[in-house]
């Protein structure tokens, strides 16, 4: 079986972005969405949003699962395996190597510099992901209100986020967000 060029392109792209996903995989969501929805048109925006929602609601490694489902949607099981592997193998290799090489230099000056330098950029990127996914979820006043309410509750209480997802799903299921 010949691997599809599209799947190779997706795998390669995911391997690159997972290698630069400072601050966690959510920071790369807008990039991945642009790549699979806007540039290549492999997946409809609606599917991307659905997959995002499912991956968030299913317990387990959610971002790896999300990329797996995107791969599945277009290329079936081969796509799911390739996309998931591209998401976790490069970072795991980096973690493994870094742990072997660097653990004795924990408080090295450059590490502190790098850590504090990453904060503004990664936080901006995470918020950008939230905004992009909110746009993708549909721009109605009710949906924006749900997004805002979830953000406020998450910031001001210690409620388990699963309840917020459940509440959003319930409101959506009642047809209140369209």
């Amino acid at each position: 079986m010949k691997p599809s060029p599209g799947l190779l392109a997706l795998t390669f792209h995911l391997a690159i972005v997972s290698s630069i996903s400072f601050g966690g995989f959510p920071t790369v969501l807008p990039d991945v969405r642009a790549f699979v929805v806007t540039i290549h048109g492999w997946i409809a925006d609606q599917d991307f949003t659905n997959i995002f929602a499912m991956a968030q609601a299913i317990p387990g490694p959610n971002m790896i699962l999300m990329m797996g489902l995107i791969g599945w949607k277009v290329w079936g099981l081969a796509g799911a395996l390739a996309a998931s592997a591209a998401t976790f193998v490069p970072p795991c290799a980096i973690y493994f190597t870094a742990f072997r090489l660097l653990r004795r230099f924990q408080e090295a000056h450059w590490q502190r510099v790098l850590r504090s330098a990453l904060v503004p950029v990664t936080t901006g990127l995470i918020i950008a992901s939230g905004i992009v996914m909110a746009q993708a979820a549909g721009i109605t006043w009710a949906a924006i209100a749900v997004t805002a309410a979830a953000a406020v509750v998450m910031l001001t209480t210690r409620l388990n986020p699963i309840w917020l997802l459940a509440a959003g799903g319930a409101l959506g299921g009642l047809g209140l967000l369209v």
Partner: protein, 221 residues
């Protein structure tokens, strides 16, 4: 979200400060282990079984909702005594500035520390294989009916809420820096570039990170 590392890390850091002693096998009372049924096994000086490593990170993966880090610490430090608090913090801070889903980084580093490369593989396998397979099956089933209006509306609502969680995660990270105009300015710039321009992530990082590193290097003595 679960894979956004920093807030959970700060949470764990705060919760770590009062306790810095290593759990030793003779110490079986006075533990604050939340599960009443948790019994401390005798600490094995050299080898943690690969199966136990895999099982530990399977638990972290499945129960990690809203903070896998808390579970990782609970299991690796409190229940198994594989790592001391200081070692766990070292691993967390190493993973903090490396790319990737950081909770997997903790799995990889813990596995590596315990058993080298096989330990890392066991941790990854435990973390991924079962949850990923079950999750994929569920997701595929869900996708099949995703066009049904009810499911579509439910997923839309979940998605809107999940987007709010991402925004909150970012805002919480910024909160401690709210009086630093440079940090806020750079965060806003990153946000605008990523959300509203069509630039790829690599370009945005390449443009902003050197700026941030230069500033951060200059700030510190």
């Amino acid at each position: 979200m679960r894979e956004a590392p920093f807030p959970a890390i700060w949470g764990i850091r705060a919760s770590l400060t009062p306790r810095s002693t290593r759990i030793i096998p003779t110490c079986t009372t006075g533990m604050s282990t939340p599960e009443p049924s948790a019994v401390l096994p005798l600490q094995q000086p050299a080898r943690a079984p690969l199966g136990a490593i895999a099982k530990a990170f399977l638990t972290v993966s499945v129960f990690g909702f809203g903070g896998g880090l808390v579970w990782a610490r609970r299991i690796a430090v409190e229940q198994r005594g594989w790592l001391s608090d200081a070692e766990f913090l070292d691993i967390v801070s190493l993973c903090q500035f490396l790319p990737g889903p950081n909770i997997i980084g903790i799995a990889v580093c813990t596995g590596t520390k315990l058993r080298g490369a096989p330990g890392a593989l066991a941790a990854i396998a435990g973390f991924l294989v079962l949850p990923w397979s079950v999750g994929l099956a569920l997701g595929v089933l869900c996708l099949r009916y995703a066009q049904a209006p009810l499911l579509r509306h439910v997923l839309g609502g979940v998605s809107a809420a999940a987007a709010g969680l991402l925004i909150a995660t970012g805002l919480r990270l910024l909160l401690p820096h709210r009086r630093r105009p440079f940090v806020i300015g750079l965060a806003v710039l990153a946000l605008v570039l990523m959300a509203f321009s069509r630039l790829p992530l690599s370009i945005v990082l390449l443009a902003l990170l050197p700026l941030s590193i230069a500033r951060s290097a200059a700030r510190r003595p």
